[in-house]
């Protein structure tokens, strides 16, 4: 489904019977959507300039600092400085690594548990307990258990992220359409076909929702895990700025984390739209 935005050409009036696109068209539409953000930014700038507080530097100063700190590197690597690479690299690796491990484990376990009533009855209390434990509470434990700091951080991310993925997958796999399983049995679909052509796609809408929740959790847990005993990454940078009372740098890291979360979520949504296009369309027509 593509929504084409026409700039009121000769056929502009002819198609007026069609439902108007929900979002505004063209440059005016973009302006209509960002004006509030621009206003907020302007307000922030003016407010902080008036206040002249060391704790609240103006956004222009934050942006300048971010640029100087991270984007003044060689052109060959998109201007990223060494400091940027040393911060973003390890943090993203922990976050995405932990999310991937949790995704694979969560989906595999979830499908098995979702398809077996007996197994579900056994492990349900365990899952309920496990998800109720705040992952941050386990950081001290993981610090003792794992000699390597990176392992501790990965474990923290995995442990926090796996629950929504696991629970959503169980839910998706549990309620397969009876007629679909009948078809699979009558036509003797193989185990692999049942898994990849029936269970996974049928559970996909729920699984994807779990993966998205997990992704946003993984940012939080990445930072939390880096606030202890780390020597690089966003969490370490935050602590370091705090101890140096370098508030502009501290704010810069907060802004970057916000941008990172936004970009990840937007990317994920774009992928989701492609992967689940059958689901959206089938919902619309039936």
């Amino acid at each position: 489904m593509t929504v084409t935005t026409t700039g009121g050409g000769p056929r502009g009036t002819a198609v007026s019977a069609r439902p108007a696109p929900r979002r505004g068209a063209g440059a005016l539409g973009v302006l209509g959507r960002v004006w509030l953000a621009a206003l907020a930014l302007a307000g922030w700038e003016i407010g902080t300039r008036q206040a002249e507080s060391v704790f609240f530097p103006p956004p222009s100063a934050i942006a300048a600092r971010m640029y100087e700190q991270w984007l003044t590197g060689p052109a060959g690597r998109v201007f990223l400085t060494d400091e940027a690479l040393e911060t973003f690299g390890p943090s993203l690796a922990r976050m995405l690594g932990g999310w991937l491990i949790a995704s694979v484990a969560g989906v595999a376990l979830g499908l098995a548990i979702g398809r077996s009533r007996a197994l579900a009855d056994y492990v349900d209390p365990l899952i309920e307990f496990g998800r109720a434990v705040p992952p941050s509470a386990l950081v001290p434990l993981f610090m003792v258990l794992f000699a390597e700091v990176t392992d501790m951080q990965l474990a923290t991310v995995v442990f926090g992220v796996i629950w929504p993925i696991l629970i959503n997958t169980i839910d998706g796999a549990r309620y397969l359409d009876r007629l679909h399983t009948d078809i699979a049995q009558v036509f003797r679909l193989s185990r692999a076909q049942r898994l990849f052509r029936l269970m996974l796609p049928a559970a996909a809408p729920k699984i994807v929702a779990g993966l998205r929740l997990g992704l946003s959790l993984s940012i939080i847990l990445m930072v939390v895990s880096e606030l202890v005993g780390s020597t690089n990454g966003f969490g370490y940078e935050l602590l370091d700025s705090q101890s140096l009372m370098d508030m502009t740098r501290l704010w810069g890291i907060i802004v970057v984390l916000g941008i990172l979360g936004y970009v990840l979520n937007t990317t994920f949504l774009a992928v989701e739209r492609r992967v689940l296009s059958w689901h959206r369309q089938a919902q619309q027509t039936t």
Binding site: D177, L179, H180, D182, I183, Q185, V186, F187, R188, L189, S190, Q193, R197, L198, P201, A202, A204, W278, H279, Q281, A282, T285, T286
Partner: protein, 260 residues
């Protein structure tokens, strides 16, 4: 080819138990098209699900080619009533048809060719790349029939296959079933609550009683072939047969002209 011997089934136990089937004996010969009719709730679907191996009957036997089967017989295809749920919405029409053929040891190209051929046979050539939800209800049911055809089953079970489509589509699909059945000499067991349909399609009509279902009677249909939606339905023998079946379904008499 198919022998159902003293088949009985009870759902649940104790005072809440529901006796769906009370001892059914049914025989379908090779190449025969048998229609099973009965009042709603007579256990028609229980009978079909038992034969398909989708439920384990509490009593009796099912034999295919003189061998007793437990579970789903190997050479069996089913067309269900609810076409909107019987296809997988996440794969294309072509893949829906081709999916069961993997077990038949065909390579990808052969599976695709077989699917295209079956789709052409039901009048849907060119639809292989579409998704089920892009098709109308009648077309979706054609896809379900194509899936069964491509599978080349020895026995085709149909559970009220045209119960959810409009009248015109229904007639088209009835004639489609007659055509492909003639072409492939398939053995078909079709379940319906529609008396006219059972007489129009069947070589033989078997009538079930209310639950717990037993055989109320059966009638041989000797109408001229090929059948025609207009001419066959005004044939005196058709009118007579449908009256007979109607009486059996209503359970007018215990001493009906049973078992000719």
């Amino acid at each position: 080819m198919l022998d159902v011997v003293n088949l009985s089934h009870t759902y649940g136990t104790g005072p809440k138990a529901h006796h769906a089937l009370g001892g059914i004996d049914l025989r379908v010969a090779e190449g025969e098209l048998v229609c099973v009719v009965g009042p709603s709730g007579a256990g028609k679907s229980t009978l079909l699900r038992s034969i398909a191996g989708l439920l384990t009957p509490t009593g009796g036997q099912i034999r295919v080619n003189d061998t007793e089967v437990a579970g789903t017989p190997g050479d069996l295809a089913v067309v269900f009533q609810d076409y909107s749920r019987s296809l997988f919405p996440w794969v294309t029409v072509g893949d829906n048809v081709a999916l069961p053929l993997r077990r038949r040891g065909k390579d990808k190209a052969a599976r695709r060719a077989a699917a295209a051929e079956a789709l052409a046979e039901v009048g849907l050539s060119g639809a292989a790349g579409k998704y089920p939800w892009e098709l109308s209800g009648g077309m979706q049911q054609r896809v379900a029939i194509a899936r069964a055809l491509a599978y080349r089953p020895a026995l085709l079970l149909m559970d009220e296959p045209f119960g959810s489509v409009d009248a015109q589509t229904r007639e088209d699909l009835e004639d489609l079933v007659l055509k492909v059945r003639d072409h492939h000499r398939m053995t078909v067991l079709l379940i319906t609550h529609d008396i006219d349909e059972s007489v129009y399609l069947g070589d033989r009509v078997v009538v079930l009683t209310k639950a717990p279902a037993t055989i109320a009677g059966e009638l041989k249909v000797d109408l001229p072939s090929p059948r025609d939606q207009i001419a066959t339905r005004e044939h005196p023998a058709f009118v007579h047969l449908r009256a007979e079946v109607g009486r059996l379904v209503r359970g007018r008499d215990e001493h009906a002209p049973a078992r000719p």
